[in-house]
């Protein structure tokens, strides 16, 4: 046995330890904390209890969960409505033009999303650029209230998460064989029928993947709701943040975190399960062929 680690082994160990220190350990800490007892002066103390989880069933929190699901769903829908045509048009461009467009879309990513949210807050204020422009153009007579509304939160989430929708959709459109559209046309399908019967079913994997990776993080983006939504439009992320930083009830904050993670895990599990069932069915029938 050789003790000189190759570069490959080094890389694997480095990333494993990174994951262990910064992902596994914090999650375990959260999990353990969620089973402790709340104590205002020491944050969380023994003994173990299920108290925090019991409180999750309080209707107040159910309300937050439903609001949060609603805001995230709306943001996901907006991302899909904007991202789908965008990805479709982009996939028709030549590779050069496409690279430039993708680059332009990714540039804002180099700026921290918190800072971009602050920027949005300025733009959407009563004396912000949006209102000023609309007033100057004479489209409105008085400033519209944008900031601290449900609309602002959905707008902010959509803006920040849009690239996560576009990228998997692009991949789906890339795999879409153009000759299938010609074949459908040849068989008498008009543009509408080609869209619903060929394009949508064949890009469905991209649609589902895009929706999942927009929907799941959207529920946790507390700073968007904080900065743009005011006190009334809460995400699950806000609830959790408040428990840790304001109420200082760490066990309950941890329990809410665990609940959010479990919810996400269930959704992901359902997605992979559905995927596997599709491919397994194909596999079984393949065996019957021989």
């Amino acid at each position: 046995m050789k003790f000189t680690p190759t570069f490959r082994q080094l890389a694997i160990w480095l990333s494993l330890s990174w994951l262990a220190v910064f992902v596994l350990v914090p999650h375990l800490l959260v999990l353990v904390t969620s089973f402790l007892t709340a104590d205002p002066s020491n944050l969380a103390v023994w003994p173990l209890s299920l108290d925090a989880y019991a409180r999750l069933w309080d209707p107040v929190y159910a309300g937050v969960l439903i609001d949060s699901l609603y805001l995230s769903l709306m943001a996901t829908l907006c991302c899909l409505l904007v991202g789908y045509p965008f990805a479709f048009v982009l996939s028709r461009f030549s590779p050069g033009v496409r690279a430039v467009c993708l680059f332009l879309m990714i540039i804002p990513f180099w700026t921290n999303s918190l800072i971009r949210t602050y920027a949005l807050k300025m733009l959407m204020g009563n004396k912000g650029l949006f209102n000023d422009t609309l007033l100057a153009l004479g489209i409105i007579d008085a400033p519209i209230r944008m900031i601290y509304t449900e609309f602002a939160v959905i707008f902010g989430l959509t803006y920040i998460l849009l690239p996560f929708m576009v990228l998997p959709l692009m991949a789906s459109f890339d795999r879409l064989d153009r000759s299938l559209l010609e074949a459908a046309r040849d068989l008498g399908a008009n543009a509408w029928q080609r869209f619903w019967r060929i394009i949508v079913p064949l890009t469905m994997p991209g649609i589902i993947a895009g929706c999942l990776i927009v929907f799941l993080p959207a529920m946790g983006m507390f700073y968007v709701a904080d900065l743009l939504g005011g006190a009334r439009n809460l995400l699950l992320g806000n609830l959790i943040k408040n428990q840790f930083l304001v109420v200082r009830d760490w066990p309950f904050g941890s329990a809410a975190s665990v609940a959010l993670i479990v919810l996400m895990a269930v959704l992901l599990w359902a997605y992979f399960q559905a995927n596997r069932r599709v491919s397994r069915r194909g596999g079984l029938e393949d065996e019957n062929l021989t």
């Binding site: 064989d177 010609e182 046309r185 040849d186």
Partner: protein, 370 residues
């Protein structure tokens, strides 16, 4: 060509792709019920012709007429023609049944009629038991049949096939060739088939159009194209040909001339049109038109004497290359004669060569650099 029976007509069609002219003032007439093949090397414009008929491309000028109606401005979805694509383009998310039913559903045919028509056509292509399979679970030949079924179920006026057999292996291709031909007779639909494979074209077609660089070279039956090519391109693209340069010396009668071949051999040639003394012509000889004999058997019969440079046993034939003293090489292909099993030559052996008189084909000379 009778215009009345033309089911597809292109008249003076010009098509450009970004300044590059693919077709110029191109006209074509395809008869109702025939198996028509457009044959040519890649880039000759044959696929463009097919796409113009299908409606995927529109002519910059000129007309496309299908079944007596000018469809020049209609899109593919509104034309009564269907296409079998080179890659088949089967819908991967639909079953075989739904693939075949697609066109009927678009045409809002009644549910019960769809059921019976799809079943009928799947039986016809021997895929009755595969209706619930998905395309990825089929072999290449089966996919090919689904693609054909999906097109013919709509009872199109014309079926367009774009190099539809080129993805199959050799054995399957031969089988599908005869199936296609059979299907075409059975359905009575006009088939327009595009290919670069001259053997395929010869074996399936009623008529062939040979294309080269956007220009039609010759239209005719496989026999006309093979035996009486109109120019050197057709002659060399369809099968192998020996080309001899010749000058007409004098006419013996309307179709027989004394000519000087390659500047040194005075021979009598048969032509299918009139030439004047002094005209330059090409004499085209197919490899199977040539006869080779041992020098001792030939005696002093008129003919060429040359050296065997190469011989190649193909199973059915013995193919040889004979080089004449001036360096000209003739390719010959002889069938085996069961009565003469010894028949073989050694490399560099001097032999006598001549062609079967009357089998040569004479065309006017073209400028060519040889």
């Amino acid at each position: 060509m009778s215009e009345a029976s033309a089911v597809v007509q292109l008249s003076s069609v010009t098509k450009r792709f970004e300044q590059q002219e693919v077709l110029r003032e191109f006209s074509l007439s395809i008869h109702d019920g025939e198996f028509f093949t457009i044959l040519g090397p890649s880039g000759c414009g044959k696929t463009t012709i097919l796409r113009l008929i299908a409606g995927f491309e529109h002519a910059d000028s000129g007309q496309v007429i299908i079944d007596g109606t000018d469809v020049s401005t209609l899109g593919a979805e509104k034309r009564s023609v269907n296409t079998v694509f080179q890659s088949y383009a089967l819908f991967p998310h639909l079953t075989v049944f739904e693939n075949v039913a697609f066109g009927l559903r678009m045409a809002r045919v009644a549910r019960t009629e769809i059921e019976s028509r799809v079943k009928e056509v799947l039986e016809m292509v021997q895929l009755g038991d595969f209706a619930q399979r998905r395309p990825e679970q089929l072999s290449g030949g089966q996919r090919q049949r689904v693609a054909i079924a999906r097109a013919v179920v709509n009872r199109p006026k014309v079926l367009l096939l774009d190099e539809s057999l080129s993805a199959l292996d050799y054995q399957l291709r031969l089988k599908m060739q005869s199936e296609l031909k059979h299907l075409q007779r059975q359905l009575g639909i006009t088939f327009v088939y595009v290919t670069h494979d001259q053997e395929e074209a010869l074996s399936m077609s009623d008529r062939i159009l040979v294309m080269h660089q956007g220009q039609p070279q010759q239209v005719g039956t496989p026999r006309q194209i093979y035996e009486s090519p109109r120019n050197l391109f057709v002659a060399s693209f369809i099968g192998e040909t020996n080309v001899l340069n010749a000058k007409i010396l004098r006419a013996l009668d309307d179709y027989r001339y004394e000519a000087e071949l390659e500047g040194r051999y005075q021979r009598i040639i048969h032509a299918d049109r009139r030439y004047q003394p002094g005209d330059d012509v090409h004499v085209l000889l197919r490899p199977e038109d040539l006869r080779i004999e041992y020098l001792r058997d030939a005696g002093d019969k008129p003919g060429f004497v040359g050296e065997v440079k190469d011989r190649n046993y193909t199973g059915r034939t013995l193919d040889s290359i004979i080089e004449l003293p001036d360096g000209l090489q003739l390719r010959s292909s002889e069938f085996f004669d069961e009565d003469d099993p010894d028949f073989d030559y050694s490399i560099n052996e001097r032999v006598w060569v001549d062609w079967v008189h009357g089998w040569e084909h004479v065309i006017p000379a073209e400028n060519l650099n040889r």
